[in-house]
Amino acid sequence: MMIHVTDQTGQEHALEGLEGWRVMEVIRDWGLDIKAECGGAMSCATCHVYVDPAWTDAVGAPSDEEEDMLDSVGDVKSNSRLSCQILCSDALDGLKLTLAASASKDA
């Protein structure tokens, strides 16, 4: 499956995602600017992304715990998600998202 990620500078990247991997891991392993400080334990919100409106339904809504974690970033939008909480699957092949400023390593 492929994920299309726009980074904080506006550059687009097509990344190959592996079924069952977290989207955060794919973005991190491809070397884009994502801090993902807690490694996916939903304790940091430094893997914050905006899901392209065409994909919000397919990706689904954040859990209550994820909403709580999103409180710790100042740039939340209605399509905000933590990318460590989205699993790669064939149903998400072509997923488009944008890295939030607050996910940057030096934020």
Binding site: E37, A41, S43, D68, V73, A101, S102
Partner: protein
Amino acid sequence: MSTEITTDVVVIGAGPCGLFAAFELGLLDLKCHFIDILDRPGGQCAELYPEKPIYDIPGFPIVTGQQLTDNLMAQIAPFAPEFHFNRMVNTIEKQEDGSFRLETDADEIFHTKVVVIAAGGGSFQPKRPPVDAIEQFENKSVFYAVRKMDDFRDQDVVIVGGGDSALDWTLNLQPIVRTLTLVHRRDAFKAAPASVNKMKELVGDGKINFQLGQIAKLDGENGQINHVHLTTDAGDLSIPATRLLPFFGLTMKLGPVADWGLELNDNTIKVDTEKFETSVPGIFAIGDINWYPGKLKLILSGFHEAALMAQAAKAIVSPGERVVFQYTTSSTKLQKKLGVA
């Protein structure tokens, strides 16, 4: 005037690995002082996952981050290490006699024979809201913590956040400020329900304002803000303000560790695997902050590293003294030190 402290060992970072180092150092009669930017021990365990269970600490099928911290504190209590919280170590300098001089941002100077860097993923620092040029207002009119309540007296204060810090300071500051606006992105709060109810009462009585939204921009000059601009569902909004307190929690930054002249590997410090010493003799690095071939960032690894480091530290503090290896189970000498024999 600066405070001066002399000791055998300074441990930078009171995370789990640093804490266990105090045990291993204590068994060898080495006295240690801890310095941490957080206000309590535990590092990542206490800050990022106090209530989450850990399953891979030997002998504990399950233990939470906070329980592990509490247990480590109990385990090292017999050695009475001293803690200096809310301070960042800024510099380490090697002296001519081989000892070290450390300086903190709280104007303290430590003289020590051995330095143990247990700085984990770096120092915890407040998350900055993504607002342009916020740096120019920091520590003048934008604060990430309340150090002196009087700085807020008769001010127009905006507090942002929905957790305990935001709610606690809303309640504490309300009686002394001129106006107070609490801003949060949604009408649900992570804070203690009693605080949330109290806050809602104050809003009902017209004593504070609550505004749904997020900060977008700050206006002001010479470090002094005069307006906070918000984006809200109903459009943009500008609130007159002389003080801003954003409470978005903490994030780890490598910080000054990178400037201490140690050989690095990316954002970690290179060490040997015999003593966990850095490229500067007398400075050791244990836990998540170090790197060697095969390194695993696990609490378990940091514990092992602490034991080997302590042996080498002893040789530096008491040169020539023979250290006899002993088990805590059978050595009455060690048990006396622990206060159990």
